[in-house]
């Protein structure tokens, strides 16, 4: 294995981590509410702009501004679930789906109206070029992003498995009626779960802000990628989303290195379809169909 191949592998892993975090949010939202959040990409862009605004106006590092983005997105997610989606929770699934699509358009066009379509680039003063390890160079932005992804994932895991609200969220995702009978307030639990899902994608967006030029419709690129990763990992399966994110990142990068970037999407989606044909519930999805 030559060094360049390893470099491509490493880059793919690091980017894959960020994809994974965004997809994890989508997967969590689906797992609990059973709705597909079409506003996920747009929420990610909101996270990017939150970091951009806080970082440039206060003159602080984007990695501190990330905390603001996380809080903003949690609040945004909570509000969307509490005031919008919850109101039509009895409506057919496709109506809920269209509602999230509407939210996506409102967010994107809101950003367009406020920030103009101009590209924004955030310079990170914290770093001075890439870290060189022999023939391998590592982007510090991506390395930090990956580390943050691991930390956030660990925290979410702890929240879901060790805290009261986490247990409530898991209970809701397993059996809504049962959870209700146990005295869990579904409405609040759903809103918190949506908030956490939004927070994940917001942090992923925040981590990408120093890497990309941002513009209001940037999230569209990631929306589909998140779907693929979440489905591949088994909708609602957090570890599945994490591992699938890494897989997609690595496949994308290695294809780019070996065959050229034009083939990346093709390879990723071809692999996606193949995996679904063999295992319709995704790589890590449970195959039993409980509810529907």
């Amino acid at each position: 294995m030559n060094m360049q191949f390893f470099q491509a592998f490493l880059d793919g892993t690091l980017m894959g981590g960020v994809y994974a975090l965004a997809a994890l949010g989508l997967s969590l939202i689906f797992g609990v509410m059973k709705i597909t959040n079409f506003a996920h990409g747009a929420m990610m862009t909101v996270g990017m702009y939150a970091v951009y605004v806080v970082s440039t106006s206060l003159g602080i590092s984007p990695y501190i501004a990330l905390v603001f983005a996380a809080i903003t997105l949690f609040a945004l997610g909570y509000i969307i679930q509490h005031f919008l989606i919850d109101k039509i929770s009895d409506a057919p699934t496709h109506n809920q789906l269209l509602l999230t699509l509407g939210v996506a358009y409102i967010l994107e066009n809101g950003l367009l109206a406020v920030f103009s379509p101009n590209y924004k680039t955030l310079n990170v003063d914290d770093f001075d070029g890439a870290i060189q390890l022999g023939a391998i160079s590592i982007s510090p932005e991506k390395l930090v992003a990956f580390a943050v992804v691991l930390i956030v994932t660990a925290v979410i895991y702890i929240v879901l498995y060790k805290t009261r609200i986490g247990k409530a969220i898991r209970a809701c995702s397993q059996n809504k009626e049962g959870a209700k009978l146990m005295g869990i307030v579904i409405k609040k639990t759903n809103a918190v779960a949506f908030g956490i899902g939004a927070l994940c994608t917001g942090i992923a967006g925040a981590l990408l802000t120093p890497i990309l030029s941002i513009y209001p419709t940037l999230g569209e690129t990631f929306q589909l990628k998140c779907f693929v990763i979440a489905i591949l990992g088994g909708m609602g399966n957090l570890w599945g989303a994490l591992i699938s994110g890494l897989i997609v990142g690595i496949v994308e990068s290695l294809t780019g290195y070996i065959a050229g970037g034009s083939w990346s999407d093709l390879t990723v989606y071809a692999a996606f379809i193949l995996i679904l044909l063999v295992k319709p519930s995704g790589l890590f999805g449970r195959s039993n169909r409980r509810e529907h």
Partner: protein, 400 residues
């Protein structure tokens, strides 16, 4: 009751919106000459789209301040193309219904194809602001005109300018390009004529402009190690490429963009400062010696608080070309205006080229790109000589 209230309220909102929209168009317009503008005002290309409209407004205001066209005021009607062919078709239709004297647009080649077809069908003159596709004007249409160089124009500029950049030890070339019509068109054309330059292509690396990272492609470039790298793409993807190269401290003897969406943009140099010194780009540009250029740059900065994106100079120039034709035609009649456009011979303009003259197909025969190099964190025209703002600097100064 609640439902009825909801229904009534939402109907009110819709009615208000519709009314406010139509209200804009019902003004008395016998004294104005309307020019249609079709650009992406929403979506990922909205930044450039808006810039075209901004610069067109500056042109319209300038003409009106000088007394308009034969006593009549110009009015710009801008409609969003949504960046799609379908959106552009609807926009063209809408503008024709508004009775515009001519159409301008569209930034993307796909949209331009559709608009030129619609323009032909309704016999309305269409002046392309920017759309580089070489096949755009090959349908024998009579109503479409293009001021800027096509992809072939830029690519042949590359072949023409390369002797001034190339040193004897430069032998190999790699092209990294976005994989739509525009990037592929340029890459394939250069490939087809590379023998004339004595260079050899060792790598063709297409990528999707929507890619979220170009790390793998850059890694591939490192292993190819070409003497000359030719990057072709839009702003955000090429910005990503440059960042990767700069951060990883990867250099090649020459980096020469062709119609590069980022390298010629003021935002790019604002971001990287002197770190991008040495980068070349063959692109459209304003004539730095023209007073009109100075006016447009200053006016844009004052009105919109930022530097004009270079592509938008064609927005300004498209209005000037139409105004020139309108004056000569003395009427807004489509046929007469079309004939006046075809006879254009404009020497007063802000482009780095000779007179604007259209050939049979509607192409500007003197259109040309210039060779730009980033020096001390600024884009400097280094060739052709008559427009040069400085000399080519061969040794890339150390970043650190």
């Amino acid at each position: 009751m609640k439902k009825i209230l909801c229904l009534v309220l939402s109907l009110c909102v819709v009615a208000a919106m519709v009314f406010s929209l139509t209200a804009c168009d019902t003004e008395d317009d016998s004294d104005v000459i309307k020019i249609g503008s079709i650009h992406p005002l929403t979506g990922s290309m909205a930044y450039e789209g808006q810039a075209f409209v901004n610069s067109q407004k500056i042109a319209v205001d300038k003409i009106n301040a000088e007394g308009g066209i034969n006593g009549k005021m110009l009015q710009l009607k801008a409609v969003d193309s949504l960046g799609t062919a379908g959106g552009a078709a609807t926009a063209a239709q809408k503008l024709i219904n508004m009775n515009v004297c001519a159409l301008t647009g569209t930034y993307t080649s796909g949209s331009a194809q559709v608009v030129s077809r619609t323009a032909e069908k309704f016999s309305v003159p269409f002046v392309v602001t920017v759309a580089a596709s070489e096949t755009l004007l090959t349908n024998g249409y009579k109503y479409s005109f293009r001021i800027q160089p096509s992809t072939v124009g830029f690519s042949s500029n590359f072949i023409e300018y390369i002797p001034y950049i190339k040193t004897d030890d430069m032998k190999t070339v790699a092209i990294i390009y976005e994989d739509s019509n525009y990037g592929t068109g340029i890459a394939e054309y250069i490939k087809s004529r590379i023998d004339e330059t004595g260079l050899e292509i060792i790598g063709m690396l297409p990528y999707s402009a929507k890619a979220s990272t170009l790390s793998a492609e850059v890694t591939k470039l490192v292993s190819l190690d070409p003497d000359i790298l030719i990057p072709v793409g839009y702003y955000s993807d090429q910005n990503m490429l440059a960042k990767e190269l700069i951060d990883r401290n990867i250099t090649f003897p020459a980096i020469i963009g062709v119609a590069n969406g980022a390298f010629s943009d003021a935002k790019f140099t604002n971001t990287y400062g002197t770190q991008a010194d040495g980068f070349f780009d063959i692109n459209y540009r304003y004539n730095p010696n023209s007073e009109e250029t100075e006016y447009l740059l200053r006016e844009y900065r004052e009105r919109y608080g930022e530097e004009i994106p270079v592509c938008a100079i064609y927005g300004y120039e498209s209005i000037m070309v139409i105004a020139d034709a309108l004056k000569r035609a003395g009427t807004t009649d489509h046929e007469a205006l079309r004939n006046a456009l075809a006879e254009t011979n404009m020497t007063e303009h802000l482009l780095p080229q000779g007179a604007i003259i259209f050939d049979e197909a509607g192409e500007n025969i003197n259109s040309a790109g210039v060779l730009i190099q980033i020096q001390n964190g600024k884009q400097v025209i280094v060739y052709p000589k008559e427009y040069a703002e400085g000399e080519i600097i061969f040794e890339k100064e150390s970043d650190s």
